[in-house]
């Protein structure tokens, strides 16, 4: 498959006072056309920043972002606008992502007019109605002239999705797009996103902290697990879930409760060596997971920074950033 | 962060003196108090510089106006007037503005604000020393009363929010803060002084009765208080509304905080919650406002002191302006500015005592 978006060695840091905080470090990542890619990680791992850089809302501090094979920072004129239109984002908070002073019609018609997708009001209202129907906000007349505060959280999130669709994008980045709506509505929203992938030919990058959600919805896609600004494991969902390689992925998966209590009880619980997540300003040398890793190898993990590579001894096709694994060693529990 | 590696003693020895001095200064500067005082000094310097050039660059700067005045009023020739102005203003008007500025700053650093133009032989600094204490006394007393009373009423409003008491007090505080303080002064003067004759307007003029001999006698202090009564009343009326509304909103915000809820859940007495949890945290933001208010009231004291013929620094500023006594005018203005900066500084330091977060990060 052709990668539509690519990260080449992307790093990003923010300054707090005079101290730079490295939020992303040396990320290489490709988003393939029409795939469902999940970015998974705990809060503060840099997944939102990754989403913003992918959608061009944030520039990387170093490294390159390629869209359809071309460096985004060098795009000008029509090429830039094409990129801009092609990658859209859906925010987490449906209460903050819609301008309270605009009606739903305003919100959805501004981009249509701006990009000359419609030429008059009648066309605009038809297209807006079409978009609203697409996201199951019917009857349209009940919604179209309302203000965001007159809608429920779930409805607003549907408007958010409709807005992302106005420019006929080829990539949609959904940043925790369902985490703030009621659980009962989540499944509907997610199924809708899944359907869009095939009906509208959209690539979806789904950012979540919930590995269970990723497992359920991205079964035919891929999952990238992030930890403290780096991708630690990336692979097809069945591989990654079925045969997790990286210690961090294993820990995460072991923490997911199963619906079957029997299974949950029999599940092997991996204990971390430390519960504390290191601060981004004081990252440990080598592999940043090493202070917590149960399979820590002294002199290796705290000395060298691991790179993503396949694991030779495994049937899984996932790429993993773990030196002992990629160099063919077996994991042994660390004993000081 | 220097990591001390015992293997490299030679490297450590070389850059010793400058490194230690800088390091020492940096550590000194990291101290919150030192940094705040340093910033205040820089602000004072910036304000002096700014106003120096502002007044010099204005059409009709003090020297020109004074030269005109001398030529017209005392029939001096231009040259005579010019040299007289030069001597009074403590700088050479022919020199470049920068040279003038350097000279002015030089005098200023020695505490020399020049001599009064109209009453020669009188040093401006002495005049200020004579008038400033009265303003500090009356403004300070007014502020103390309105802050205490306003904070108390504001807390009551917050506790009784959306009741009749709250609505009434809110309305009253809106009205009190909306009307300019000198308008309150005029109303009090006309209605209670002139019409109802509750007090004798004439007797209350000045800072103390002319028959009194200043001293720490009970009689004298009573007289001083009597004379300060009207200005203080006006300062209180004019500023209490703001305190009430701010304290109300601040307290309502604090009452919604989780730690107050937890304190309640822990069964702490309501008076303890009020004092240790709500009061302390709600009044914190008030200290910044306190500093701003001091500046505003000292600024506004010009009109109030003029109105009640209270001989403070504001009244002196007005006098020096109407007499075209520019050296006095500049001196007073400078002192007012410095007092504002100093009150800001004190508020900052007080804030840091009360809110540990400020001391550590240095930023709010």
């Amino acid at each position: 498959m052709e990668p539509i978006l690519q990260f080449k060695n992307v790093s990003r840091s923010f300054k707090k006072g005079r101290i730079p905080i490295p939020v992303l470090q040396d990320i290489d990542l490709s988003v393939n056309a029409l795939e469902f890619l999940c970015l998974v990680g705990e809060s503060g791992c840099g997944k939102t920043t990754t989403g913003k850089i992918l959608s061009g809302l944030l520039a990387p501090s170093s490294g390159r972002v390629l869209f359809e094979g071309r460096d985004v920072s060098k795009l000008r004129g029509e090429a830039y606008r094409h990129y801009r239109r092609s990658v859209q984002i859906i925010h987490q908070d449906p209460y903050a992502s819609l301008n309270p002073t605009q009606t739903i019609y305003d919100i959805l018609s501004f981009p249509l007019f701006r990009h000359k997708l419609v030429h008059n009001r009648t066309q605009a209202r038809d297209r807006v109605a079409e978009l609203l129907t697409m996201v199951d906000l019917t009857p349209v007349l009940d919604v179209i002239d309302k203000y965001p505060h007159q809608l429920s959280g779930g409805q607003r999130q549907r408007v958010s999705i409709a807005r992302a669709l106005t420019t006929n994008p080829s990539v949609i980045i959904a940043d925790e797009a369902v985490s703030m709506v009621d659980v009962s509505i989540r499944i509907g929203l997610l199924n809708m996103l899944m359907d869009m992938r095939t009906s509208l030919n959209v690539t979806i990058v789904f950012i979540t902290h919930d590995l269970a959600l990723a497992k359920y919805f991205a079964w035919d896609g891929r999952i990238a697990v992030m930890y403290l600004g780096r991708v630690v494991e990336i692979g097809r969902t069945p591989d990654l879930i079925g045969e997790p390689q990286h210690p961090y992925t294993r820990v995460l998966l072991s923490a997911i409760p199963e619906a079957d209590p029997q299974k949950t009880r029999s599940k092997q619980h991996i204990l971390l060596r430390s519960e504390d997540i290191p601060r981004l300003t004081e990252l440990p040398p080598g592999c940043s997971f090493h202070p917590r890793c149960p399979w820590f190898v002294e002199g290796v993990c705290d000395a060298r920074v691991p790179q993503l590579a396949p694991v030779p001894a495994s049937a899984s096709a996932s790429e993993v950033a773990c030196i002992p694994l990629t160099e063919g060693a077996a994991l042994t529990l660390y004993t000081p | 962060m220097a990591t001390h590696t015992p293997t490299a003693p030679a490297l450590e020895a070389a850059p010793v003196p400058s490194f230690h001095l800088l390091d020492y200064l940096r550590r000194f500067y990291a101290n919150y108090t030192v940094r705040t005082i340093f910033k205040a000094l820089v602000t004072i310097w910036a304000v002096i510089t700014f106003t120096f050039f502002l007044i010099r660059l204005m059409p009709g700067n003090p020297v020109e106006v004074y030269v005109d005045f001398l030529m017209n009023q005392q029939n001096m020739t231009y040259d005579e007037a010019y040299s007289r102005a030069a001597s009074q203003f403590r700088f050479d008007p022919d020199a470049s503005p920068v040279t003038q500025y350097v000279e002015y700053m030089g005098h200023l650093l020695q505490g020399d604000l020049g001599e009064s133009i109209t009453s020669s032989g009188t040093r401006v600094i002495d005049q200020i020393a004579r008038f400033l204490p009265w303003t500090i006394f009356s403004v300070g007393l007014g502020l103390l009363i309105s802050f205490t009373l306003g904070a108390t009423l504001g807390t009551i409003m917050a506790y009784k929010r959306n009741t009749f008491i709250d609505h009434t007090l809110s309305l009253i505080s809106s009205i009190l803060s909306a009307v300019p303080n000198y308008i309150w002064g005029l109303m009090i003067l006309i209605i209670f002084g002139v019409q109802l004759r509750w007090f004798n307007v004439g007797e209350l003029r000045g800072t103390y009765s002319p028959t009194m001999t200043p001293g720490f006698t009970l009689e004298f202090l009573g007289d001083v208080l009597k004379h300060a009564m009207l200005p203080v009343l006006v300062y209180v009326t004019g500023s209490i509304g703001g305190w009430m509304l701010n304290m109300r909103n601040s307290t309502i915000g604090t009452l919604g905080e989780d730690y107050v809820g937890v304190a309640r859940a822990r069964g702490l007495t309501s008076s303890r919650i009020l004092l240790a949890y709500v009061g302390r945290n709600a009044s914190l933001p008030m200290f910044t406002l306190l500093a701003i208010n001091i500046g505003f009231i000292i600024g506004g004291s010009v009109i109030i002191e003029e109105l009640f013929v209270y001989k403070g620094i504001g009244s002196f500023l007005y006098w020096s302006i109407s007499q075209r006594d520019y050296t006095s005018m500049q001196g007073v203005f400078l002192i007012i500015t410095i007092s504002v900066v100093v009150s800001n500084l004190m508020a900052d330091l007080l804030y840091s005592r009360l809110d540990p977060r400020v001391r550590v990060s240095g930023e709010k």
């Binding site: 309270p100 002073t101 981009p111 | 700014f50 909306a178 500023l317 005018m329």
Partner: protein
């Protein structure tokens, strides 16, 4: 779907009119909910009529009337006759062909003027200061030299009502018509001029100057605040530094010092000066507002949709600050009023216009402040200014509610 499926049922543009009606509805709702705001709004409407239409309805009274100096509110001209003539001379028409006594340079003069043609008018030619000619005039009436006297009620009262000792100087004289002229609702000033007319005329310049100063201050604050927040970097650093500096300088004393240097002949200059010293507070607030609005998800979405910077500032950021800007504009106007009237009161601004501020200035400089008789002269502008400020502040509170999104949900 047909082209008209999603047209609104009513045949007008929902975009403009709906929002207009909606905002008017919200406005009404806000005012109904906030009684204090309603009072403020009505107050401001009254002031608007007062400032805009009042001067055309009530002429500015510049007529010096020596018998009417500093008369209390409600004073008016009355007609005095001898007791036996009390029913004969009650109206001005009755005076046709009769001799009327009036004080020279007084209000009565103009009133009796139309009857001069009858040739029967006799005017006291001596110039009298307040009330001093009144006894002479009343003596003439008592002796039958004149048939009636048109006099100011304030002066008449002093001679015709029994004094504390129970004695009436002119037992043979009575007021035959107590409502001859129109009453001076607010009384007269130290030159016998109608205070009400001065109050009607005295607000226009003050309020306009305060509005202009508030507008300029708000404009500077919005432009610099938005620029500092959106451009950032050096611009932000410099603008913030200047704002902090100006904020530290006590603005009123600086205003006095500058007013002493520059001749502020033009109200526009005064407004500009006030604006230049008052923008920093609002600018800092706007800057932080824009900074926080810029981080909102919907602004980010607008960037992602490539809606353009113009759209983002005008349609995404500004509408969400309008209430904040409007409320602060009102407070800027009240601040400007404070500064302006304060300067005028201290006599730091050349007097071009007889404003409320000038009335206060004269009240102080001519000592009328301390005279019990002329309270109205100072109290009237004091109340006019106070009520204006109170109306503004109460209205600002209702605006706060008007833009509260919770109120819209209630629609």
């Amino acid at each position: 779907m047909t082209a008209t499926t999603y047209e609104p049922t009513r045949q007008r543009s929902p975009h403009f009119f709906d929002s207009l009606f909606a905002s008017l509805g919200i406005f009404g709702l806000a005012l109904r909910r906030n009684r204090a705001g309603m009072v403020g709004f009505i107050g401001l409407m009254i002031y608007a009529v007062w400032v805009l239409i009042g001067p055309y309805l009530v002429p500015f009274d510049d007529q010096v009337r020596l018998d009417q100096i500093a008369s209390p509110p409600g004073s008016r001209l009355v007609m005095i006759t001898r007791v036996e003539d009390v029913s004969r001379y009650t109206s001005l028409d009755d005076l046709n062909g009769q001799t009327v006594g009036v004080l020279d340079r007084s209000g009565g003069e103009t009133m009796v003027e139309p009857y001069e043609d009858s040739g029967a008018l006799e005017v006291e030619t001596e110039r009298f200061s307040s009330g001093r000619g009144v006894p002479a005039l009343l003596d003439q009436l008592a002796e039958g030299d004149v048939d009636a006297v048109v006099l100011f009620s304030d002066a008449a009262k002093r001679y015709l009502t029994p004094s504390s000792s129970g004695e009436n100087d002119y037992p043979g004289l009575v007021v035959s018509n107590a409502e001859l002229g129109r009453p001076y609702i607010l009384g007269t000033d130290t030159q016998g001029r109608d205070i009400l007319s001065h109050i009607v005329h005295g607000g226009t310049t003050l309020i306009t100057t305060a509005l202009v100063a508030g507008l300029m201050s708000t404009l500077i604050a919005v432009v610099l605040g938005a620029m500092a927040a959106l451009v950032g970097g050096m611009v932000d650093t410099i603008v913030t530094a200047i704002a902090n500096l100006v904020l530290t300088i006590p603005s009123f004393p600086l205003l006095i010092v500058l007013a002493a240097l520059i001749q502020l002949n033009n109200p526009l200059m005064l407004a500009l000066l006030i604006a230049l010293l008052s923008w920093p507070v609002l600018m800092r607030a706007i800057r932080s507002q824009v900074l926080s609005l810029r981080e909102r998800d919907y602004v980010e979405a607008a960037f992602a949709l490539d809606l353009g910077l113009r759209h983002i500032i005008l349609r995404e950021i500004l509408p969400n600050m309008m209430s904040f800007v409007a409320i602060n504009f009102i407070f800027a106007v009240t601040r400007a009023m404070y500064d302006q009237v304060g300067l005028i009161f201290l006599g730091m601004v050349p007097i071009n216009d007889y404003t409320w501020g000038v009335m206060l200035y004269f009240g102080r400089s001519r000592g009328t402040l301390f005279s019990p008789d002329s309270a109205s002269m100072v109290l009237s502008p004091v109340i006019a200014i106070a009520l204006f400020q109170v109306s503004m502040v109460l209205f600002a509170r209702s605006l706060e509610e008007m833009f509260d999104p919770r109120l819209r949900t209630a629609k």
